[in-house]
Amino acid sequence: MTDVILEARDLKKYYPVTKGLLQRTIGWVRAVDGISFTIERGKTLSLVGESGAGKTTVAKAVLLLEKLTSGSILFEGKDIYRFSKSQLKMEYRPRVQSVQQNPWSSMNPRMRVRDIIAEPLVVNTKRTKEEIRSRVLEILDQVGLAPNQVDYYPHEFSGGQRQRIAVARALALNPDLIVLDEPVSALDVSIRAQIMNLLKDLQDQYNLSYLVIAHNLATVRFMSHTVAIMYLGEIVEFGEAEELFTRPLHPYTRALISASMLTLPEDEDKGVEKIILSGEMPSPLNPPPGCRFHTRCVEATDKCSKDVPEVREIGQQRVKCHLYADPSVRSAVSKGPDAGPAGK
């Protein structure tokens, strides 16, 4: 019934910290520390978190730009780290594409749009020049660019147009999964909606799956089916997008949502207060004991600094927090629609 296209199991990425002449390893930066998720075909999963939470490392691991310390990534049930070189080239690379954050640096300034979009085709297929040419024009049309723009260089376009070119390049091979690393965060707010709508339309049309890396909650809410909130290399909350935004469980999720919302004058009258997190994310070199979030959590108790919370399922959501250890709290939360401060 559920058609899982990508499954990540217990991903870990530790970077060694070395010191001295002999490059002794004195510690490990735990950029990603035990993350699991699944992406269903035709659906969007968003990874959300502050910078340093490890979300980009996950994206790089999926794109095989970064080697994992441990864990496995299954693409249609097959471990991508066990693929041979030729299998990768045949079965994985052409089917998993990406759109990067910065449309000003993700394209070779010396290539024309025609060649930029054609590159995945040239590298991965044995099509003739004529076939490639017509395919390029076809995709260009789909992302809303004019055919006479193929001979321009990337610098001759605006940011939004460039991001369309990047999307076109990702689409060229008819992939199944596209990794979108902050696809709209470099763009003007007025352009963002256009690109997001384009991505959603393409998803519907081709049954594409997206792995979105983002920090902007409005983007995430608009684009995702499921959302994973990351903090310091861990997923602290996971759930369906609408549920998670209307009933955030983890204090960190609540803080993020609260901080991202506009405070209207009437809210202030009602006494709705923003949760402002103090301080910065602790260093992943030395993650705090117990719950990693306890140093900044408004609801932290003694227990939080000692015991690592377990992941608990509440309805469709999964949350890693001691607040929900008590079964009565759990059932109260799953019944009450207005548990979170940001609930509508």
């Binding site: 794109l63 095989l64 730009l65 990768l88 080239k89 690379r93 052409p94 998993v96 594409q97 990406s98 990067q100 910065n102 640096s105 993700s106 394209m107 070779n108 300034p109 010396r110 290539m111 590159e119 995945p120 590298v123 991965n124 260089y153 610098h155 390049r169």
Partner: protein, 309 residues
């Protein structure tokens, strides 16, 4: 839209390039003059005589460059007192026609520098991009060799080569190429290191592009800018290096004319016959400067981002 703002359209048209009229004329001249100078130099070198199609007596050069007329030594050029139109640029200390020697010298000087630049830039760029992109042990090895090449005294190597294979044209080319590639390798490796980090290279890897494709299609075109600048600067350096070697007797041996050896020959007569070394010197200066200007122009033209400036 045009009908709404016709005046603005008209006013902006002459300045569409973003430069004032005077600046654009200067810019145009900075292409036309050096291109003309270089073209003339090359044509002169080619048509100095037509021996290469079997007509040794036809050509631009009025005399044979090595014909000595000892009675007519140190004749001044035609435009100063005592000169005659027989020898437009005068004669040297052995009574050879300076103009003919400058014309023939262009062959040696230009061909040596172009050949050396071609060889060194090719080797250096291949090694530099390989080192910069692949990294690791390959990079370590290549860059240590580069360090050795850069620290090795070029003159001693040239002397060594001259002793082994004897002085001559190829000795100069080999001596200048043997160490010259290292500079290109260092430059292109640095650039490759920078470009390797860029998002579009990561994107190419995601697409599954092979290492050689990334080096050729993504790194090399982006290295080209700096490469061209260095190559054009090298034109002058190579002409000077060739003349130095020829002066030391390692390079082009007498009586064959090269600009460098002519400057060297004339230095003893600078007080009484300045023209002997001045005219080949002017030729060197003209080629070097034209090369630099043309290099700048090519660089601007090749960089798509600067094309509209």
């Amino acid at each position: 839209m045009l009908s709404i703002m016709p005046n603005i359209e008209d006013k902006t048209r002459p300045r569409i390039s973003g430069l004032s009229r005077g600046a654009r004329i200067l810019r145009g001249l900075s292409l036309v003059i050096p291109a003309t100078v270089l073209a003339l130099m090359f044509l002169t070198a080619i048509f100095a005589d037509l021996a290469w199609i079997g007509l040794p007596d036809v050509g631009l050069s009025p005399y044979h460059p090595n014909d000595q007329v000892l009675k007519e030594r140190r004749l001044p050029p035609a435009f100063i007192e005592g000169g005659s139109t027989e020898h437009l640029l005068g004669t040297d200390n052995l009574g050879r026609d300076v103009l003919s020697r400058v014309i023939h010298g262009a062959r040696v000087s230009l061909s040596v520098s172009l050949l050396v630049i071609f060889i060194t830039a090719t080797i250096g760029t291949i090694l530099g991009i390989t080192a910069g992109y692949l990294g690791g042990r390959i990079e370590g090895f290549i860059m240590r060799v580069v360090d050795v090449a850069l620290s090795f005294p070029g003159l001693i190597l040239a002397l060594l080569l001259a002793t082994i294979i004897g002085p001559g044209y190829m000795t100069v080319v080999i001596a200048l190429s043997a160490l010259g590639w290292a500079g290109y390798a260092r430059l292109t490796r640095g650039e490759s290191l920078r470009i390797r980090q860029s998002d579009f290279v990561a994107q190419a890897r995601v697409n599954g592009a092979s290492t050689s494709r990334i080096m050729l299609r993504h790194i090399f075109p982006n290295v080209l800018n700096s490469l061209i600048v260095i190559m054009t600067l090298a034109v002058g350096m190579m002409i000077l290096a060739e003349s130095m070697l020829s002066y030391l007797g390692i390079g082009i041996s007498a009586p064959t004319a090269s600009w460098g050896s002519m400057v060297a020959d004339g230095r003893n007569d600078l007080d009484r016959a300045w023209w002997i070394s001045t005219f080949p010197g002017i030729a060197i200066g003209a080629v070097v400067m034209s090369g630099n200007f043309l290099g700048d122009w090519i660089r601007d033209k090749m960089d798509p981002r600067l094309r509209q400036l």
